[in-house]
Amino acid sequence: MIMPIFAEILTKGPLLKGAQMKSRNLFLKTLFFSLALAFSSASLWATDPVTSKEPSHEDSADHSVSTEEQISDYIAHHIKDAHDFHLFSYNDASGHRKHIGFPLPVIVYTSQGFRFFMSSEFHHDDSGHQVVERDGVSLVKYHEKIYELNAGEHALSFGDDGHHGVKHEVGLGEELSEIAESEEFDASHHPTNAHEVLDLSITKSVFGFLLVSLLMLIAFRSLANQYKKRAVPTGFGRVLEPLVLYVRDEIARPNIGEKHYKRFTGFLLTVFFFIWTSNLLGLTPLGFNITGQLAVTFSLALFTYLITQFSGNKEYWKHIFWMPGVPAPMKVILAPIELLGTLTKPFSLMIRLFANISAGHIVVMSLISIAIIMKSSMGAVGATALSFALSFFLTLIELLVAFLQAYIFTMLSALFIGMAVQEHDHH
């Protein structure tokens, strides 16, 4: 949907005028710093309620949950995808836990067919105790996974020891967060009287994905439309035009080559702006972590992989299966290695983006938590000041990383595509 718009911008877009660059640089710098300041202070505010967070599993036998465990729990929950938006929580006058956020639609395919409802029906329960009844299907949510209870069951039960209390989740994302768990936990990790359903819900990340797509569609549609009226865009288009030209002239053209770059510029621009916008959205206190989901980076890398393979020319395949210029036995040895090489390239694209963004989010949240952890030793003001200073500078670095990762992904995609389409005329 967006790629044709880029094509339109590229065909009609004029070149950047150098005279405007100075004032623009100043403007961009001011914007950059004020955004960083706003983000870091806002994230500080948004995470503050951790201080008053009670043990979230009221049913859990162990009530002595330490602050550190709560914080790592909170970070693990942020890194994971979720079925609702959770902005913050507090205890009201009567001591009840209040959650502020908004629900998202749940779409599940159960044994009885599709079921639709809002995630607010789970009442912020993530321990599998709030049962949602929908036309003969009982659904529960446990660790952000939705399970369908077997007929006649009214609660989720786990293996023999029933161990499902607060866990120590550390590491990157859901996959890596299982590190800390031992094997016997894994044995009872899955509920025994329920099965997973096909979950097509609009989760937090899917919502963010759609939001980014919508933002990009609006921004680039308006930019493309402007070229029908005038040669130089006005307003926000002036920020976008140099970026579009940058991707075309600095990334696509030198890496893919004069002859073929036009075919792939649309894809590269879409990937670049999607990753960048998602990364920036992840720095807002809304709690998005779109590019920190393996599924998202996997599908982005999959597109690069498929485009590379399907646009590969004869030379490209010849270099994979029958490397020219080496002895015949070596050709046999090299073929599987080269074939594996085509897979490791998109694999490293996937892991790089996922790990960078997840690690960034974990570090920012850990630095924010300093305000809570150091409160007893430094006092509230000192701890908050330290936490603010550190998270402010890290947010600045994260703004750079947000751009850098989008750039790297696009650049390497262009490099891989360029390898597949280039013509070897040096023989």
Binding site: F347, L349, I351
Partner: protein
Amino acid sequence: MTIPNLVGAGLIVIGAGIGLGQIGGRAMEGIARQPEATGKIQTAMIIIAALLEGLAFGALFLGK
């Protein structure tokens, strides 16, 4: 996380650190020698650093 995993992660990070140091240091030398080529050197540096980073993250991910 078991102890061999932690040792392995440490080794990966040491290796990646040495590599990044080499890349950054040599890029600095190159820029000092030829300041007019700063842009090209930086681009190449970032690409190599990203490849190295991908390798390190991949190893950490697979060895978790």
